[in-house]
Symmetry: C2
Subunit: 249 residues, 2 copies
């Protein structure tokens, strides 16, 4: 199979404020619900393509505001996780899901090898390569980097309501998460909820954080809280000071 | 700084038996003592450039033989670890060491940012990118991959003799190592010796194994045992059956 993306389509990796001086590097793998043109609608009705199964609602906006507030570089991924979920390795069945929550994804069903490879090669690999090179440049300059990914989650999953408002997720490296979790006294904030490392959601952070010896944490905000500009602004503000404090040695 | 490698110099990543059908993917980061021409001798006498500080003596030969015996793809890195140690992330002081064992490396002293970046960009990144893409292709084809890196260590380090002959190294994922260590009854084989995860030597495996959810282990052979063709052949044979057995589910 040839290229998945045509020349006039966006590159999967977009760096915002690339030269930001914050020790934090922000990542938003599920920023967009855009599909590569070649994939059509994946056989889904339009309404499904704007639900949380396609992207993390509000996450890009919060991440952009936070990037500005703390002067941090931000790596945005430009395609829907239904095309390729960049927080999953190519080996994962969730990377190109045949089912997401309760929705079957016809365009992902029994994908042949060449189509799987095209998505890996043209979305997953260039996105992570962009993140790697951003971190490489900072390392060469002797800058410290802490890696934080910004996500949102649906308030109701498979029919079950979630009361948690903020999840701070970690795998083996708990240092940054332990500092952050103490900084939200008026929020229902929990460690490794509503997801944790067993759900396979720590891929990006294991790749760019753990493997490089960089402190890292994953932030999950319930998406009804960041559905509009006011909520997005509020949560960017709310996250900014705890992050700055947590980076202090 | 422009390119570190000139057009007629080798690419840092060389894949051997790329289409091998073994579940194992072999990696040899310290295969070569070659220096990029632009780095001259790094200010070292010729004898130092052939010692274990520059490469893992015998490792490439063992890895090539093993690759053939078990039909495994092998990723070789083509430059000395004194130029860039591809088993270290760019953040590590050991990536471009100013001192190795007891030898100061003049050409690595106080490297300016542009020279650090050139080595990261032109050696480290293309090597690991090659490994990533090799694993990506196997994942797209639905092939299982277990990642094993092949190293050798010096029998005398900082004046102290080492009796261990074979080290099986692991970090958090112990599954493959636990199987392998039982398979060498007549060898002085030890887990996490002479190095372990605290020495920062699990970088490659954390990057390509742990972060992708692939089983992995690092193999360290004492280099006096694989200094000649006979020893290399013996150790390739010795490793082949335990690996095949360990891959059986």
């Amino acid at each position: 199979m040839g290229a998945l993306l045509q020349d006039d389509e966006e590159h999967p990796f977009l760096a915002i404020n690339e030269e930001g001086r914050s020790p934090f590097v922000l990542i938003c793998e599920h920023a967009s619900c855009r599909l590569p043109r070649a994939l059509g609608t994946l056989g889904l009705p339009a309404a499904e393509l704007e639900r949380h199964i396609a992207w993390d609602i509000g996450a890009e906006k919060v991440a952009r505001l936070l990037s500005r507030l703390i002067d941090a570089p931000l790596a945005l991924q430009r395609y829907s996780r239904l095309a390729y979920d960049c927080n999953r390795p190519p080996e994962s069945a969730d990377a190109m899901p045949e089912m997401s929550e309760l929705t079957a994804i016809p365009g992902n069903r029994r994908l042949p090898e060449d189509q799987r490879l095209a998505r890996i090669r043209d979305i997953y690999r260039p996105f992570h390569d962009g993140v790697s090179r951003l971190l490489d440049r900072r390392a060469a300059a002797g800058m410290r980097s802490l890696v934080v990914s910004i996500h949102s989650f649906t308030p109701v999953y498979k029919g079950k309501a979630r009361s948690v408002e903020l999840g701070i997720l970690h795998d083996r490296d708990t240092a940054l998460s332990a500092k952050l979790i103490k900084s939200f006294p008026n929020v229902d904030a929990r460690l490794n909820e509503p997801y944790g490392p067993k759900d396979g959601v720590l891929h990006t952070l294991n790749l760019h954080g753990f493997a490089r010896g960089l402190e890292h944490a994953m932030i999950e905000i319930r998406n009804d809280l960041v559905a509009d500009g006011r909520g997005q602004d509020e949560w960017a503000q709310r996250l900014s000071v705890p992050l700055i404090q947590a980076a202090a040695k």
